[in-house]
């Protein structure tokens, strides 16, 4: 599990992961990078909305909700 790279969508609640790669292009990529999702950033899954999407993540001191559309495109590695 430790060295495996997977999409942020699959990070269990309460667990932390490190961003490996943001696999989008254009404005959405810019937006994600602006929100602090650059490689090596630690991201923690905090809570799920009732429908399971979006999911709230703690990213560099702020809580940010991402839709699975976006979190699917963020490759991470588990850290704890």
């Amino acid at each position: 599990m430790f060295d495996q790279v997977f999409a942020l969508t699959y990070l269990p609640m309460g667990r932390k992961a490190q961003v490996v790669k943001v696999e989008t292009e254009g404005l959405i990529r810019n937006r994600l990078l602006d929100l602090g999702l650059v490689p090596s950033t630690i991201v923690e899954a905090i809570r799920k909305s009732p429908a399971g999407d979006p999911i709230a993540y703690k990213i560099r001191g702020a809580v940010i909700a991402l839709r699975s559309e976006e979190s699917r495109q963020i490759q991470v590695r588990a850290v704890d």
Binding site: N30, R31, D34, L35, G36, I59, R60, G61, A62
Partner: protein
Amino acid sequence: MKSQVTGLQEFLEGIEENKGDAVIALAGNPNTGKSTVFNSLTGLNQHTGNWPGKTVVFAKGTYRYKKKNITLVDLPGTYSLLANSTDEQVARDFICFGKPDATVVVVDATCLERNLNLALQVMEITPQTILCVNLIDEAKRKKMTIDFSKLADLLGVPVIPTVARDKVGLQDLKESIHRVVFEKKPLQPRRIVYNKVIESAIEKIQKEVEALLQGSLNSRWVALRLLDGDPTIIREIFNYLQRMDQGVRPSKTRALKVVEDYG
């Protein structure tokens, strides 16, 4: 599109009419206390309105310091100036084309690393930048220590710690703005160096861009935006040059052509 362009122009003219001795832009991420800084500096001397042609609220206020009347423009809170939203576009257009005498970037001391992204983007456009590190009381509560002089050294711009809510540091902020604007001490903000591929591309086009802009905009920044290929900014640069070009200078017209080609 048309209404957006005239919108910016109308707004700039509105500011020009009544600008006092200097115009200062206030930028910052959402929830950094930017509006608290604005309110504490201007008190009741302010008015809010809509950015013409867009549903973006802005506030304009004034204060007096050392016999100078300063106009402060509170820009929408944004994470970036790369224009993912109307708010960002408005903030960016004002900093680039509104030519404020200085831009104060308000950042949240408790999450500096997130906030410095915007500060670096502003510094890329204009050297006349001041960093206002707000909410230092909260940072202290969270047992964070910030080395402000080191930060100022690293960034190459003045760094002013504040607690705007309690009016702490605002005098220093006014003094710093005064110095940057009226004492014309040239600031040397840290330049972001990109990877080799990008730097050599910048080098290739910057000289040409420089010759064409003749100092009307920051050539390195324009070169970067051309490389970005973001159509909204290229259109704004085009419009800006067109406005500047009313005296019909052949070189500027050529600049328009180049910008158009890249766009």
